[in-house]
């Protein structure tokens, strides 16, 4: 795909001629009266690193377990490479899973753990050793081959689990919160390792996570789920910059949500009246709105400029008082109270040293942003 034209971005979901590797077709899963997955349609393409993101109980794990074969859909079909997987038991599916708890076999060595699946495949005995060795090399575990899982660190265990699930070269690898048990620094390192391995092996990865940062870092596309439904499926940038609902905007990163009444100004512009006696917010619309319709204006803190004076080059200028400052080293987040009582978060990078910091508590400041900095949402 990318070889022919190095300029071309990997985006099979935009190509109508591409057949998806996985297709969910009206899939519903009920546990008693509880609906875990609700009439869901989704296509995942070959070579993708696809993230299922959502709070616990949103159905993302159930979706993954249906792919692995541990749960059967109550309704609907799942197609894997144009084959309906419903009648195929987990041990016959060309899918492997990396478990949240890693599920390493404690009575077997690292080597035997990785070889476990291969010994049960039709791979000839003499090739198994080479394959295990290749997997050990890929995950940099060569010197731990003879150890038992409890004799290695958490990060190493995570890599054994990855090596074991990749050993059989599955068409699809499922990762259930693969980095949940690691501390933050190790998690970030491992994220890049995962991406690297995904690229090297060319395997399609589907990752389940509740960590939005993780999903944004590793994924080609992110599906945000809530109550068994997909709320939005888009690239990380798409999810962040153009969320389709308040739920998605709020779930991914920090955001200011201002509720108001829309007044379309034509030419794709809209004014949002959010408080009595204050100039409305000038914004650009993504979807058509009617006059007086209740809308939500969502803007990320880093899109708002904080200054002593209003910035005349930006369409929106509003006055407030610094209520709180969170100094994070590279950036500072200012919580600014508007005259109308609303709290707005704004972020500025600390390009200068601390001693030259401009504002402090109770200072009067001007918040400015352009008319394209935020998004107008109707739900």
């Amino acid at each position: 795909m990318a070889e022919a034209n190095p300029q071309k971005v990997f985006a099979p979901w935009e190509d109508p001629n591409q057949a998806p590797l996985i297709r969910f077709e009206g899939v519903t899963k009920k546990f008693g009266t509880f609906t875990a997955v609700d009439n869901l349609n989704l296509d995942i393409y070959r070579g993708e690193f696809f993230a299922l993101l959502g709070p616990s109980g949103c159905g993302k794990t159930t979706l993954m377990r249906m792919l692995a074969g541990f749960e059967d859909p109550t309704m609907g079909n799942i197609w894997l490479d144009d084959v309906d997987v419903a009648p195929i038991p987990p041990n016959k599916r060309p899918v492997n899973m990396m478990f949240q708890s890693y599920a390493l076999f404690p009575h077997l060595t690292v080597w035997d753990n990785i070889a476990f699946g291969l010994k049960r495949s039709d791979m000839p005995q003499e090739q198994i050793g080479d394959r295990v060795q290749a997997m050990l090399r890929l995950t940099r575990l060569e010197q731990f081959a003879k150890r038992k899982p409890h004799q290695i660190s958490g990060g190493q265990r995570q890599r054994v689990a990855l090596a074991r699930s990749l050993a059989k070269a599955p068409k699809l690898l499922l990762l259930d919160e693969p980095l949940g048990a690691l501390d933050k620094k190790l998690r970030q390192e491992t994220q890049f390792e995962l991406m690297d391995i995904q690229e090297k092996t060319g395997t399609t990865f589907v990752i389940v996570t509740h960590d939005q940062e993780e999903a944004m870092t590793v994924a080609t596309r992110v599906a945000v789920m809530d109550h068994g439904k997909l709320v939005q499926v888009a690239t990380p940038a798409g999810i962040y910059e153009t969320p389709n609902s308040v739920y998605v905007a709020d779930f991914i990163g920090e955001v200011n949500i201002i509720e108001g009444a829309a007044a379309p100004m034509g030419d794709g512009k809209v004014d949002i009246a959010f408080a009595e006696g204050v100039e409305p917010i000038h914004a650009t619309i993504g979807e058509p709105v009617t006059a007086g319709q209740k809308v939500f204006f969502a803007i990320r803190p880093e899109k708002i400029h904080v200054g002593r004076e209003p910035d005349p080059t930006r369409a929106n200028r509003i006055r407030g008082k610094v209520h709180d400052i969170a100094y994070l080293g590279n950036i500072s987040t200012y919580r600014v109270e508007l005259e109308t009582g609303q709290m707005i978060s704004a972020q500025m990078t600390n390009a200068r040293r601390l001693s030259r910091r401009d504002f402090t508590w109770e200072d009067e400041v001007w918040l400015s942003w352009t008319d394209t900095a935020g998004v107008v949402l109707t739900r």
Binding site: P89, P90, M97, F99, Q100, A103, P149, G154, G155, S165
Partner: protein, 272 residues
């Protein structure tokens, strides 16, 4: 915490242990008595242990007991493990509560009733009483102990290990054999030892199920004592206490070790 125990604790401990173990202690001491009279101490001797080796009746009974013990505890372990697996892993099936209740019922059932009902069954189906019927009877009542031990281990067993095995291409039976069984082995061995000890001990059920050619040691001792306690029986009982104690201690050591190792693995699991 205060490292020294208060006099109250020391007293209750002493009294409690005396109550539990003084009778056995006396029995053990008198098994080394050189006098033929059980109640008169006449000096240390191991001659009754020597006599025991020449008493063919006791040796026969011991051999029967041993065979019954090994066979019944093995059968009970296989059946009990299977029952425990179904109970813990079977999910919700129709009659599950009834089934689990019925597995555990023999734990509280009076032995006389178990023995009597088995006797009636053997007569009804025309089974000649002998070693085989004792094995059946012992399997019946010790199986539930095995299933209690094994199911408590299975409850703490990480289900995803089995799912991982399935995911990597195991059939459900292969997953049980190559993943579940090796991990629960300590519990299975504990169960076996427990069943063996119970079988060794049992008098009531064995006397219902045994025939003329198949007298177990407890039956033999019981009938011998009715003719008068001899130092030989003290010696025999001491040996039995030794075997049972070894069994029980081994069982608890195995399970304690397994628990400790598991804790250690979990502890190391949380470390990075």
């Amino acid at each position: 915490m205060n490292r020294r125990m208060s006099w109250f604790n020391v007293t209750s401990l002493t009294l409690g242990f005396a109550f539990l173990y003084l009778p056995m202690l006396i029995l053990i001491i008198y098994s080394f008595n050189s006098s033929k009279l059980v109640t008169v101490w006449a000096g240390f001797s191991t001659k009754w242990y020597g006599e025991l080796l020449h008493n063919q009746q006791f040796l026969d009974a011991a051999w029967v007991t041993l065979r019954v013990g090994v066979m019944s505890s093995t059968a009970a372990t296989v059946l009990g493990t299977m029952a425990a697996y179904v109970m813990v892993r079977g999910g919700r099936f129709f009659g599950r509560t009834l089934f689990s209740g019925m597995i555990y019922a023999p734990l509280v059932m009076p032995e006389v009733i178990t023995g009597l009902s088995l006797l009636l069954l053997f007569i009804a189906i025309g089974l000649d009483r002998g070693i085989f019927t004792i094995v059946l009877a012992h399997t019946t009542f010790s199986m539930c102990y095995v299933s209690v031990v094994v199911s408590s281990r299975l409850m703490t067993f990480d289900r995803s290990l089995e799912e991982a095995a399935l995911d990597l291409g195991c059939s459900p039976f292969d997953a049980f054999k190559s993943v579940t069984l090796p991990i629960i082995t300590p519990a299975v061995i504990s169960g076996w030892l427990l069943a063996f000890t119970l079988s060794l001990d049992d008098l009531v059920i064995a006397s219902f199920a045994s025939g003329p050619s198949s007298t177990t040691l407890p039956i033999k001792i019981f009938s011998a004592v009715r003719l008068g306690v001899s130092p030989e029986i003290n010696a025999l009982s001491t040996i039995m206490i030794g075997i049972v104690a070894t069994g029980v201690i081994t069982t608890s050591l195995i399970s304690k070790n397994a628990i400790r190792r598991q804790r250690q693995e979990e502890l190391e699991g949380t470390k990075q």
